[in-house]
Symmetry: C2
Subunit: 103 residues, 2 copies
Amino acid sequence: MTPKPMNMTHLAKVMKALSSPKRLELYLDIVKKNEGCYKTGSECFLTDIISSCDLGAPTVSHHLKELSNAGLISTERRGKYLVATVNHETVEEVRALLSAGRK
Amino acid sequence: MTPKPMNMTHLAKVMKALSSPKRLELYLDIVKKNEGCYKTGSECFLTDIISSCDLGAPTVSHHLKELSNAGLISTERRGKYLVATVNHETVEEVRALLSAGRK
DNA sequence: CTTATAGTTCGATGGTTGTCGAAATATGAA
DNA sequence: TTCATATTTCGACAACCATCGAACTATAAG
Protein backbone atom coordinates (compact mmCIF):
# COMPACT_ATOMS: atom_id res chain seq x y z
CA MET A 1 0.00 0.00 0.00
CA THR A 2 1.35 3.38 -0.97
CA PRO A 3 1.45 5.94 1.81
CA LYS A 4 -1.26 8.56 1.64
CA PRO A 5 -0.21 11.80 -0.06
CA MET A 6 0.96 14.73 2.00
CA ASN A 7 -0.17 18.27 1.33
CA MET A 8 2.44 20.84 0.54
CA THR A 9 2.03 22.95 3.64
CA HIS A 10 2.80 19.92 5.76
CA LEU A 11 5.71 18.88 3.58
CA ALA A 12 7.23 22.35 3.86
CA LYS A 13 6.83 22.07 7.61
CA VAL A 14 8.73 18.79 7.64
CA MET A 15 11.47 20.25 5.49
CA LYS A 16 11.74 23.24 7.77
CA ALA A 17 12.01 20.95 10.75
CA LEU A 18 15.07 19.36 9.13
CA SER A 19 16.56 22.56 7.74
CA SER A 20 18.57 23.51 10.82
CA PRO A 21 21.88 21.61 10.93
CA LYS A 22 21.70 21.05 14.68
CA ARG A 23 18.09 19.90 14.51
CA LEU A 24 18.89 17.59 11.61
CA GLU A 25 21.72 16.16 13.69
CA LEU A 26 19.34 15.62 16.59
CA TYR A 27 16.86 13.90 14.32
CA LEU A 28 19.46 11.55 12.82
CA ASP A 29 20.70 10.83 16.32
CA ILE A 30 17.22 9.78 17.34
CA VAL A 31 16.99 7.64 14.21
CA LYS A 32 20.24 5.92 15.08
CA LYS A 33 19.27 5.35 18.70
CA ASN A 34 15.97 3.92 17.51
CA GLU A 35 17.88 1.50 15.28
CA GLY A 36 19.86 0.43 18.33
CA CYS A 37 16.60 0.04 20.20
CA TYR A 38 15.36 -2.36 17.56
CA LYS A 39 18.35 -4.57 18.17
CA THR A 40 19.19 -4.15 21.85
CA GLY A 41 15.98 -2.92 23.43
CA SER A 42 17.53 0.30 24.68
CA GLU A 43 15.48 3.41 24.03
CA CYS A 44 16.22 6.99 23.06
CA PHE A 45 16.18 9.18 26.15
CA LEU A 46 16.13 12.94 25.88
CA THR A 47 18.59 13.25 28.73
CA ASP A 48 21.19 11.29 26.74
CA ILE A 49 20.68 13.50 23.73
CA ILE A 50 21.17 16.59 25.86
CA SER A 51 24.36 15.15 27.32
CA SER A 52 25.87 14.22 23.98
CA CYS A 53 25.20 17.41 22.06
CA ASP A 54 26.57 20.89 22.53
CA LEU A 55 23.22 22.58 23.06
CA GLY A 56 21.44 23.64 26.20
CA ALA A 57 18.46 21.73 27.53
CA PRO A 58 15.97 24.48 26.60
CA THR A 59 17.20 24.50 23.02
CA VAL A 60 17.00 20.73 22.67
CA SER A 61 13.53 20.75 24.16
CA HIS A 62 12.51 23.36 21.62
CA HIS A 63 14.00 21.38 18.73
CA LEU A 64 12.32 18.17 19.79
CA LYS A 65 9.00 19.92 19.95
CA GLU A 66 9.57 21.18 16.43
CA LEU A 67 10.37 17.68 15.17
CA SER A 68 7.33 16.35 16.99
CA ASN A 69 5.18 19.13 15.60
CA ALA A 70 6.24 18.19 12.09
CA GLY A 71 5.22 14.60 12.76
CA LEU A 72 8.76 13.29 12.39
CA ILE A 73 8.96 11.90 15.93
CA SER A 74 6.73 11.17 18.88
CA THR A 75 7.62 11.64 22.51
CA GLU A 76 6.43 9.73 25.52
CA ARG A 77 7.09 10.29 29.18
CA ARG A 78 8.58 7.20 30.81
CA GLY A 79 8.78 8.00 34.51
CA LYS A 80 11.28 10.77 35.04
CA TYR A 81 12.55 10.62 31.49
CA LEU A 82 11.31 11.43 28.02
CA VAL A 83 11.59 8.84 25.25
CA ALA A 84 11.67 9.82 21.58
CA THR A 85 10.64 7.50 18.75
CA VAL A 86 10.82 8.07 15.01
CA ASN A 87 7.58 8.26 13.07
CA HIS A 88 8.48 6.26 9.99
CA GLU A 89 5.25 7.04 8.17
CA THR A 90 6.06 10.73 7.90
CA VAL A 91 9.51 10.00 6.52
CA GLU A 92 7.97 7.68 3.93
CA GLU A 93 5.59 10.42 2.86
CA VAL A 94 8.47 12.80 2.30
CA ARG A 95 10.35 10.18 0.32
CA ALA A 96 7.25 9.58 -1.77
CA LEU A 97 6.91 13.23 -2.64
CA LEU A 98 10.58 13.51 -3.46
CA SER A 99 10.11 10.64 -5.90
CA ALA A 100 7.97 12.83 -8.15
CA GLY A 101 9.41 13.06 -11.65
CA ARG A 102 12.18 10.61 -11.00
CA LYS A 103 14.10 9.29 -13.97
CA MET B 1 25.45 1.86 -7.83
CA THR B 2 24.39 3.62 -4.68
CA PRO B 3 24.64 7.42 -4.82
CA LYS B 4 27.56 8.90 -2.95
CA PRO B 5 26.74 9.98 0.59
CA MET B 6 25.92 13.58 1.33
CA ASN B 7 27.32 15.40 4.31
CA MET B 8 24.95 16.85 6.82
CA THR B 9 25.69 20.49 6.18
CA HIS B 10 24.73 20.02 2.56
CA LEU B 11 21.64 18.02 3.43
CA ALA B 12 20.48 20.75 5.79
CA LYS B 13 21.00 23.23 2.98
CA VAL B 14 18.82 21.18 0.67
CA MET B 15 16.14 20.91 3.34
CA LYS B 16 16.24 24.64 3.91
CA ALA B 17 15.88 25.22 0.19
CA LEU B 18 12.62 23.26 0.31
CA SER B 19 11.40 24.62 3.64
CA SER B 20 9.65 27.68 2.28
CA PRO B 21 6.16 26.78 0.97
CA LYS B 22 6.44 29.08 -2.04
CA ARG B 23 9.90 27.82 -2.91
CA LEU B 24 8.74 24.21 -2.53
CA GLU B 25 5.89 25.01 -4.88
CA LEU B 26 8.32 26.49 -7.38
CA TYR B 27 10.52 23.40 -7.16
CA LEU B 28 7.64 20.98 -7.68
CA ASP B 29 6.46 23.12 -10.58
CA ILE B 30 9.88 22.77 -12.18
CA VAL B 31 9.76 19.02 -11.56
CA LYS B 32 6.38 18.79 -13.24
CA LYS B 33 7.46 20.90 -16.22
CA ASN B 34 10.56 18.70 -16.55
CA GLU B 35 8.31 15.65 -16.66
CA GLY B 36 6.36 17.28 -19.46
CA CYS B 37 9.64 18.03 -21.17
CA TYR B 38 10.49 14.35 -21.12
CA LYS B 39 7.31 13.59 -23.03
CA THR B 40 6.68 16.60 -25.21
CA GLY B 41 10.07 18.23 -25.61
CA SER B 42 8.93 21.51 -24.09
CA GLU B 43 11.27 22.97 -21.49
CA CYS B 44 10.86 24.83 -18.22
CA PHE B 45 11.26 28.55 -18.83
CA LEU B 46 11.66 30.93 -15.94
CA THR B 47 9.38 33.44 -17.59
CA ASP B 48 6.50 30.94 -17.51
CA ILE B 49 7.11 30.25 -13.85
CA ILE B 50 7.02 33.96 -13.09
CA SER B 51 3.78 34.34 -15.02
CA SER B 52 2.03 31.44 -13.31
CA CYS B 53 2.94 32.19 -9.70
CA ASP B 54 1.93 35.07 -7.49
CA LEU B 55 5.43 36.28 -6.76
CA GLY B 56 7.43 39.11 -8.24
CA ALA B 57 10.30 38.44 -10.65
CA PRO B 58 12.99 39.42 -8.11
CA THR B 59 11.60 36.99 -5.56
CA VAL B 60 11.41 34.13 -8.05
CA SER B 61 14.94 34.88 -9.19
CA HIS B 62 16.11 34.73 -5.59
CA HIS B 63 14.29 31.45 -4.95
CA LEU B 64 15.70 29.84 -8.07
CA LYS B 65 19.17 30.84 -7.06
CA GLU B 66 18.58 29.22 -3.69
CA LEU B 67 17.38 25.98 -5.29
CA SER B 68 20.34 26.06 -7.63
CA ASN B 69 22.73 26.77 -4.77
CA ALA B 70 21.43 23.70 -2.96
CA GLY B 71 22.11 21.61 -6.04
CA LEU B 72 18.45 20.79 -6.59
CA ILE B 73 18.25 22.38 -10.03
CA SER B 74 20.51 23.78 -12.70
CA THR B 75 19.85 26.80 -14.87
CA GLU B 76 21.00 27.50 -18.39
CA ARG B 77 20.58 30.57 -20.52
CA ARG B 78 18.86 29.75 -23.81
CA GLY B 79 18.92 32.94 -25.84
CA LYS B 80 16.72 35.47 -24.13
CA TYR B 81 15.27 32.98 -21.71
CA LEU B 82 16.41 30.93 -18.75
CA VAL B 83 15.76 27.20 -18.62
CA ALA B 84 15.58 25.27 -15.35
CA THR B 85 16.26 21.54 -15.09
CA VAL B 86 15.97 19.27 -12.05
CA ASN B 87 19.13 17.70 -10.72
CA HIS B 88 17.94 14.20 -9.98
CA GLU B 89 21.16 13.12 -8.31
CA THR B 90 20.71 15.53 -5.43
CA VAL B 91 17.15 14.39 -4.87
CA GLU B 92 18.33 10.80 -4.79
CA GLU B 93 20.94 11.66 -2.19
CA VAL B 94 18.29 13.19 0.04
CA ARG B 95 16.08 10.15 -0.40
CA ALA B 96 19.01 7.93 0.49
CA LEU B 97 19.71 9.78 3.70
CA LEU B 98 16.06 9.74 4.67
CA SER B 99 16.13 5.98 4.27
CA ALA B 100 18.33 5.63 7.35
CA GLY B 101 16.79 3.41 9.96
CA ARG B 102 13.80 2.47 7.86
CA LYS B 103 11.60 -0.36 9.04
C1' DC C 1 20.69 52.77 -32.31
C1' DT C 2 16.30 52.39 -30.01
C1' DT C 3 12.90 49.78 -27.94
C1' DA C 4 10.92 45.95 -25.58
C1' DT C 5 11.29 41.97 -22.86
C1' DA C 6 13.83 38.85 -19.46
C1' DG C 7 16.36 38.59 -15.53
C1' DT C 8 19.43 40.26 -11.73
C1' DT C 9 21.07 43.27 -8.06
C1' DC C 10 20.24 46.51 -4.37
C1' DG C 11 18.25 48.39 -0.20
C1' DA C 12 14.67 48.20 2.91
C1' DT C 13 11.32 46.10 5.93
C1' DG C 14 8.50 43.20 8.77
C1' DG C 15 8.57 38.73 10.34
C1' DT C 16 10.75 34.39 11.80
C1' DT C 17 14.31 31.60 14.08
C1' DG C 18 18.13 29.51 16.92
C1' DT C 19 20.09 30.11 21.06
C1' DC C 20 20.65 31.38 25.73
C1' DG C 21 19.90 32.07 30.98
C1' DA C 22 16.61 32.25 34.51
C1' DA C 23 12.72 30.67 36.41
C1' DA C 24 9.00 27.34 36.68
C1' DT C 25 7.24 22.56 36.65
C1' DA C 26 7.46 17.43 37.05
C1' DT C 27 8.91 13.29 38.86
C1' DG C 28 11.14 10.14 41.81
C1' DA C 29 14.28 9.46 45.95
C1' DA C 30 15.53 10.11 50.73
C1' DT D 1 8.27 17.16 53.02
C1' DT D 2 12.63 18.18 51.20
C1' DC D 3 16.00 17.44 47.73
C1' DA D 4 17.92 16.36 43.26
C1' DT D 5 17.37 15.60 38.59
C1' DA D 6 14.71 16.09 34.14
C1' DT D 7 12.17 18.95 31.21
C1' DT D 8 9.49 23.00 29.90
C1' DT D 9 8.27 27.82 29.68
C1' DC D 10 9.48 32.61 29.41
C1' DG D 11 11.76 36.76 27.83
C1' DA D 12 15.25 38.46 25.24
C1' DC D 13 18.40 39.16 21.44
C1' DA D 14 21.04 38.87 17.32
C1' DA D 15 20.87 36.77 12.96
C1' DC D 16 18.45 35.36 9.17
C1' DC D 17 14.67 35.33 5.60
C1' DA D 18 10.83 36.19 2.22
C1' DT D 19 9.11 39.75 -0.17
C1' DC D 20 8.86 44.06 -2.42
C1' DG D 21 9.89 48.21 -5.64
C1' DA D 22 13.38 50.57 -8.05
C1' DA D 23 17.17 50.54 -10.65
C1' DC D 24 20.34 47.96 -13.44
C1' DT D 25 22.05 44.50 -17.09
C1' DA D 26 21.34 41.31 -21.02
C1' DT D 27 19.50 39.82 -25.12
C1' DA D 28 16.84 40.07 -29.22
C1' DA D 29 13.78 42.57 -32.58
C1' DG D 30 12.80 46.52 -35.45
